[in-house]
């Protein structure tokens, strides 16, 4: 019964791709009689949010060092400290958590922030392209 379905146009496919990307899908597969469509999105541009470990005051640098731990555009590794949250006399580390490129800070240095507040965005590396299977 192929009468009810029109074949997908190129515009339809563009639309589906845009929607799937927005929804954060890595892969989508559609089947119509006579057509099998499989879209795979490489995971470039994935964003990792770095959150505050605790409530306190956020700093992008240590008072004893002139330079910030990292600047937007810098490559960071998962274990790198990219900031500090000060609670009275103590500092807790803000750890990148994922390897990638520091996209931007989401909090100003010196600001009071709550626990779990997003502090920075890291553009993660391509996390393995799933689906070069045919």
């Amino acid at each position: 019964m192929r009468d009810a379905l029109k074949p997908l146009s190129l515009d339809d496919i563009r639309g589906i791709a845009a929607w799937a990307r927005t929804a954060g899908l890595g892969e989508i597969e559609l089947e119509q009689p006579g057509l099998r469509l499989r879209l795979v999105f490489p995971a470039t541009g994935g964003l990792h949010l770095v959150r505050s470990p605790t409530t306190g005051r956020f700093f992008d640098r240590h008072p004893a060092r002139p330079d910030p731990f990292a600047r937007p555009g810098d490559r960071v590794s998962a274990r790198d400290v990219i900031g500090l949250v000060q609670v009275e006399r103590l500092y807790r580390p803000v750890i990148a958590g994922r390897a990638g490129v520091l996209a931007r800070f989401l909090a100003e240095t010196g600001r009071l922030i709550d626990a779990d507040t997003p502090l920075a965005e890291i553009t993660t590396e391509t996390e393995g392209r799933h689906g070069t299977r045919s």
Binding site: H62, A64, R65, D80, Q86, R89, L90, Y91, R92
Partner: protein, 329 residues
């Protein structure tokens, strides 16, 4: 167990000093920056006075032979644990096989490495401090050498939270003695000493108002200062008397000497003042060429500064303990 892989001369095991034997002529020794050593220990849950390593010559490289929590405080030596740069005044967990490298600091003079449980060397006359001048205490009575292995004491709370924790440096946490108009001048609070009033007005004014430069003849025993010479109108006959770290003596050359941790226990030069105990750590971070200025305080004011310093250390201790409890869930 930690192994010293590379070290220049003059790095040694120190605690907060050897007290109670000065009447036998035994000086105190101990960390030149006592606040830095105490802070490192408290971050780890050690008693403030546990022994650590004072590093005043760089580069310094150790390898850990067993898992141990460590803290690096004092001058920022851009410590790297297996290549990962640690923030200043930081504590973290080191694993067996990892290496720690400390580089010459850009500012400040001495860094401290504290280990959970403290460096376990024999106690001599109540202290684990090395007296480099005479050669006792610490590790075999001498400065550390490549190949030395140091045991760490038992520590019930040996783990730091993931990623470590740091302390606000005392430079930031404790009010400066005074803000000097010129930058890079360390202002030290000084209580006038026994022979202060014997100096003529001109010398007293020079002492209190001019900047003094730490000369190259400066070490753990004492700092010799350069500036306008201070002179008495007539020579004073004084007997040798007990001296303490911080005392400022004026020898016949007129260039003052600040006696420090490895000083003699007695001396006979006129004493113009004494740097208060709570500011001695600032001297411990002054290197040759550094500029100093003296600000007069009373004993009561000195005691107040001491209380502020103790309060800072108590806050570090309490919060670090809380963080470790949280981490151990």
């Amino acid at each position: 167990m930690i192994e010293i892989v590379q070290t220049p001369p003059l790095n040694s095991v120190q605690d907060l000093g050897r007290f109670g034997a000065r009447h036998y002529g035994v000086g105190t020794s101990g960390a030149m920056d006592d606040v830095a050593l105490a802070t490192g220990n408290l971050l780890l849950g050690n008693p403030a006075g546990a022994a650590g390593i004072e590093i005043q010559m760089f580069p310094f490289l150790v390898k850990f032979r067993s898992d141990v929590a460590v803290a690096i405080t004092g001058a920022d030596c851009r410590a790297r644990l297996d290549g990962t740069l640690l923030p200043p005044w930081w504590s973290t967990n080191a694993r067996a096989g990892q290496s720690l490298v400390l580089q010459a600091p850009a500012t400040g003079a001495r860094s401290y490495l504290a280990v959970a449980g403290g460096v376990d060397v024999p106690v001599v006359l109540g202290s684990r401090s090395t007296c480099l001048r005479i050669g006792y205490g610490g590790h075999r009575g001498r400065a550390l050498e490549a190949g030395d292995r140091l045991a760490c004491g038992a520590s019930p709370q040996a783990r730091q939270p993931q990623g470590g924790i740091g302390a606000e440096p005392p430079e930031a946490a404790l009010a400066a003695a005074a803000v000097d108009g010129a930058r890079d001048v360390t202002v030290l609070r000084v209580v006038p000493a026994a022979e202060h009033d014997a100096f003529p007005e001109s010398s007293r004014r020079a002492f209190w108002q001019e900047a003094w430069t730490v000369s190259a003849q400066s070490n753990r025993m004492g700092f010799r200062l350069m500036g306008t010479p201070l002179h008495l109108d007539q020579p004073l006959e004084i007997r040798s008397s007990g001296i303490v770290p911080g005392i400022v003596q004026v020898p016949p050359s007129g260039q003052p000497i600040i006696q420090l941790r490895d000083a003699n226990s007695a001396g006979g030069y006129p004493k113009i003042g004494v740097v208060i105990d709570a500011d001695l750590w600032r001297l411990g971070q002054a290197r040759p060429g550094a500029k100093l200025r003296f600000a007069s305080v009373t004993q009561q004011q000195a005691a107040e500064v001491q209380r502020e310093t103790q309060a800072y250390l108590a806050e570090v201790e309490a919060l670090a303990r809380l963080c470790r409890y949280e981490a151990q869930g």
